[in-house]
Symmetry: C2
Subunit: 497 residues, 2 copies
């Protein structure tokens, strides 16, 4: 029915247009890496958030007090979650940089990448094993082996790609210093696993040394960066070496690919938003036998029992959704994501991943009014931290606005005020809720979730108010100096509606 | 350190280049919908697979026989999973078509889309409620309300977008028949919810009518399509109406956006691959107290206990990963995804989603050797179904190869044999394993998982063999007719290694 002239969907069309001749490449067995990278991002974002599950599923029986042992268990699990998140993010960043060097893939590289993903998915398990048994060599040993396996697969990918240079990114492919590149890239990749190999060795007879070595893996690049910055401040910027323009791609100080930051963040938000519904679908469909015996066959009563769960779910989804929305708006105005912005984004995401914990906290304790205040406070703290780090991304971007932001979002740009309002909404709202818990002696979780659901409407209201304020400002200016004001109008002109 | 002339990462650069002036758009509050759509795809793919969790977590105590009541429970849950998967896929397809009409978004549309997502995430819950209590009006009522809510939000999105036509896809924006479009699009969106509204009404006094109405929602488009096809066969193709070229975009018979099919499939594969590690991270980190008491402090013994789990995990990941790889290779050669291909893809994905069940089956029963054969058979059946539907996509594409496939994958193209081998690998391997279970009296799950892990290597071997066969064929031809054969060589020339 449809003629062959039916136009392609927009984005596909774009990809085709920019890829030159996709069929020609496909015929040579070479493929653009876009889809493989999205798949990897999805996998990694799920893996990063996985360790929140043991935290949220920590069982606290209703009689049991929130006592020391439970607190310690919970604290350990939260620490494991945060550390795992950071470790997986480091692995993800390394993966991003690797595929900034390797521009195209073929079947072998796709399979190697799958092997790399498989080893990375095992990181959270080995890490939590290591934390649970800090003094047993096996835990350390397995974790180090995992890191070494990842390094080995990545080194294989690099060697393979440099052996078939048409797989490299065009810039490196054309470079005369290709051998130098390979050396450098391999050096960066192998550094961490080499330290871990030493750590695995030490784990057999003196385990504290292992931890020291592993800490070095994380700290080293930052130390060298800080040292470089200090030197630059003292002595003035170093003269760039002769081939510096070409070496940049794999430099740790370089901005990450904005698209992959977005994809990874999307994955985390999507997983967090749905972790809640997973629990609800599994636990809150009442059993037919139960309904007959406990509720005299009334389904409404049975569902009413888990009513607070649903309210909490909608509240949480609204929060996660709106935080995603703020992130989306923010990155729309960001031109490139620098290293500090990437770090702040990771921290923000780590707390977003903690939101199911907030949900669990506020929905599990609804029967003990004494604990409600406590759980609402924890939720507020998590939301505040998640949103304040988003705000920090924006502040950091403003420091180098010429390089990092689109003109409309810079100081004085017409979207600047909006962005500020969007990003300040959640820090303010969560602080306000926290303050309420301190003033009021009873602050029900139901009210809290109702507030969460109300925030999107508050946002729409805010939007309207900002529009009105701008319009009235314009009208005022029009009255004061109709001729003078006219050139200044256009950047403040509200968007249609 | 980095000069501002450092080039953008490739894909971002592409997006910028093709979007004309992104900053201009951003300044008007209009945004390209690409990221929002990926986020929606990620959410929907997680939601589609969520109902596999109750299936895999069906508890069967070791003493308990695999008796009638457990079987019935399991069968119900599997049916719920498959139906939910199909329903969510239908919602996803509607979402895809909707955003083929709405080309750009602004803040309001992004928020409306989040609301739409929130209602869709509630579909699995209401559906499983309806199935658990088929005769209680409330279950039906809630499910219908959910569908109506989705329809209402989508209608709002359409109305909003048509009110600000710059948000529509360029083709519709420029069209003279815009009012007609709106009518038509709204009609398609409202059809399903209207039927559900009637079903919700009937649920109060005569519930079988509700089921009939809901069945109509799914069947109607297919019936009308089949009727159209029959008429076309009998009477000859209908004359297209005057403005048919413009109406196509929202036509149910039109191919889906290939990019979104890929994104949705990626999401499903990523979730399925990681569902397994979620369980492992939560359940298989041994407890410090347990290790001291039960295993005399030996962590190795404690981990050895759950050794089969790890083997099963690696086997499963290898299978899911390689199925993704086959899917990836297949869609690389596909130019557009027609309606039947989309359906086959959905079915394939539904069985891929069943793979965690296969894992659970093969890893839960390892202590009862009598059941091992049974569970390996189930795994083989699931893998066979998942891969045979992939193969069917390929076969269907070959039927209209001019329209659906890249030239290199068509009959006689140089990638044709490879694609065939890739896609036939899993159906053959799973059939073989199934046959083994019939012949051998004891077929251990460990062997099965080892086989799963071996398949990628088998694939690499296969690749090498095909290369060798082609090379020898070429050499042979070279010997027989060195001059005649030369023009035929190039399409069969193996890609560099």
């Amino acid at each position: 029915m449809s003629g062959p002239q039916a136009p392609e969907p927009t984005l596909e069309g774009q990809a085709d247009a920019s890829a030159g001749s996709p069929d020609e490449d496909a015929a040579e067995g070479i493929q653009h890496s876009h889809r493989m990278l999205s798949f990897s991002d999805a996998l990694l974002s799920i893996i990063a958030t996985v360790m929140i599950l043991p935290v949220t599923h920590t069982e606290i029986s209703p009689e049991q007090e929130f006592d020391k042992s439970v607190q310690r268990l919970l604290a350990t699990r939260i620490a494991v979650y945060l550390m795992t998140f950071l470790i997986v993010t480091v692995a993800w960043a390394a993966h991003t940089r690797l595929f900034q060097v390797v521009g195209k893939i073929d079947d072998t590289l796709a399979l190697l990448n799958l092997a790399c993903m498989m080893t990375i998915t095992f990181l959270p398990f080995t890490f939590s094993l290591m934390v649970t048994f800090p003094e047993v060599p096996l835990g350390i040993f397995l974790f180090c082996m995992c890191v070494i396996a990842i390094g080995a697969v990545q080194a294989l990918i690099v060697l393979y790609a440099f052996h078939f240079p048409h797989l490299l990114s065009p810039q490196i492919e054309r470079s005369a210093h290709r051998g130098l590149y390979r050396q450098r890239v391999l050096g960066i990749i192998v550094r961490g696993p080499a330290l871990c190999l030493a750590a695995a060795g030490f784990s057999l007879f003196f385990y504290p040394a292992s931890y020291l070595l592993m800490a070095m893996v994380i700290v080293l690049p930052h130390v060298s960066k800080a040292a470089g910055w200090c030197r630059a401040q003292l002595v003035g910027p170093r003269e760039p070496p002769a081939h510096s323009v070409e070496v940049f791609t794999f430099d740790l100080h370089e901005p990450l690919s904005k698209e992959r930051v977005e994809a990874f963040s999307d994955g985390v938000y999507a997983v967090v938003a749905t972790l809640l519904i997973l629990d609800i679908c599994e636990d809150n469909v009442p059993d037919a036998k139960d309904v007959k015996e406990k509720f005299q066959g009334s389904l409404v009563a049975a569902l009413g029992e888990s009513g607070p769960h649903f309210l909490a779910y909608f509240g949480s989804f609204a929060t996660v959704g709106l935080l995603w929305f703020a992130h989306h708006s923010l990155f729309l105005h960001i031109r490139r994501a620098t290293q500090p912005m990437g770090l702040l984004n990771t921290l923000s995401l780590a707390f977003v991943g903690g939101l199911p914990l907030a949900y669990q906290q506020t929905s599990a304790f609804t029967k003990q009014p004494r604990d409600e205040l406590e759980s609402v406070r924890i939720s507020c703290a998590i939301i505040f931290l998640a949103s304040i780090f988003q705000f920090a991304i924006w502040t950091t971007a403003l420091l180098q606005e010429g390089e990092t932001l689109q003109p409309s979002a810079r100081f004085g740009g017409r979207e600047h005020a909006f962005m500020f309002a969007k990003l300040a909404l959640y820090p303010c709202a969560s602080l306000l809720a926290f303050a309420c818990t301190c003033v009021l002696s009873s602050f029900s979780t139901a009210i809290f979730h109702a507030m969460q659901i109300a925030v999107p409407f508050a946002f729409l209201l805010l939007r309207l108010l900002v529009r009105l304020a701008l319009a009235s400002l314009r009208a005022l200016r029009g009255l004061v100096g109709p001729v003078l004001a006219r050139p200044a109008q256009s950047p403040l002109l509200p968007a249609p509606c």
